[in-house]
Symmetry: C2
Subunit: 149 residues, 2 copies
């Protein structure tokens, strides 16, 4: 019972972009690249590649291919809900599996509903927070990220 690294990477990428965008507010945000992210967080390019692609499909970031390509946030940090990001990247599966294989107790079992409601509470809580909530210490983050490249 743990979030996937995949999800973790996605959140880190968004934080990186949020810090990056704020940085260059004058002349519009410069595009970040997969390479940059990998250098900063010491991650595998292939994996980050996939997460970036996924974030693009979710329209959380805008990607641009070709030379000088890259990506930026497609929404304001305060509009990106952590619940949404985590749910999407995790895949929003059931937290407990009752069919497949089928459990005989299922027709009379209360557990499924209880766990499902607990899960919803988790996400409702996360829904109070946005990418902006993660940027409370933005100056420090900018410094960390700048040092990494």
């Amino acid at each position: 019972m743990q979030l996937k690294k995949y999800t973790d990477y996605g959140l880190r990428i968004l934080m990186y972009l949020a810090s990056h965008d704020a940085d260059e507010s004058q002349e519009g945000p410069k595009l970040a690249t997969i390479r940059e992210i990998c250098d900063t967080f010491d991650l595998s390019a292939n994996h980050v590649n996939k997460v970036v692609h996924h974030l693009g499909r979710l329209e959380l970031i805008e990607t641009r291919r070709g030379k000088n390509g890259g990506f930026v946030l497609a929404q304001r940090p305060e509009d990106i809900s952590l619940a949404f990001v985590i749910r999407q990247l995790e895949g929003d599966e059931r937290w407990i599996e009752c069919e497949n294989p089928y459990c005989v107790a299922l027709p009379a079992c209360e557990l499924r509903g209880i766990v499902a409601r607990g899960k919803e509470l988790f996400y409702e809580y996360l829904d109070q927070y946005t990418l902006k909530s993660l940027m409370v210490k933005a100056p420090q983050l900018r410094q960390i990220f700048a040092a990494g490249r």
Copy 2:
């Protein structure tokens, strides 16, 4: 992000025992056996073996070795918190991993605390429920379990 089958099995075993105990209220509960559980839920004996052992160490059930051995609930269903059972069987790990490998953003990152709090909310919610809460449809469960053997 899903509960382990191990945890699931543990909960099923407890439900089985709760239904079973209530059944024989006259002359004290008869011992259930691993074989019975396996037959009822169609699970592997080896796996159930381990879960039973674990439940015993947690003092949720009393086990008896030797011929005519088996196990019964060691506490009343209303005293067995679902939060406790799930936490223990899951192993109560972090839902997000920030060190190991270490993430550069950690010193300025808000995510860890947010996820940790969400996790606590999940368990606080579960803490409202007990094994007894799972037995709302006890008669139906008894019937299902009886048919299985």
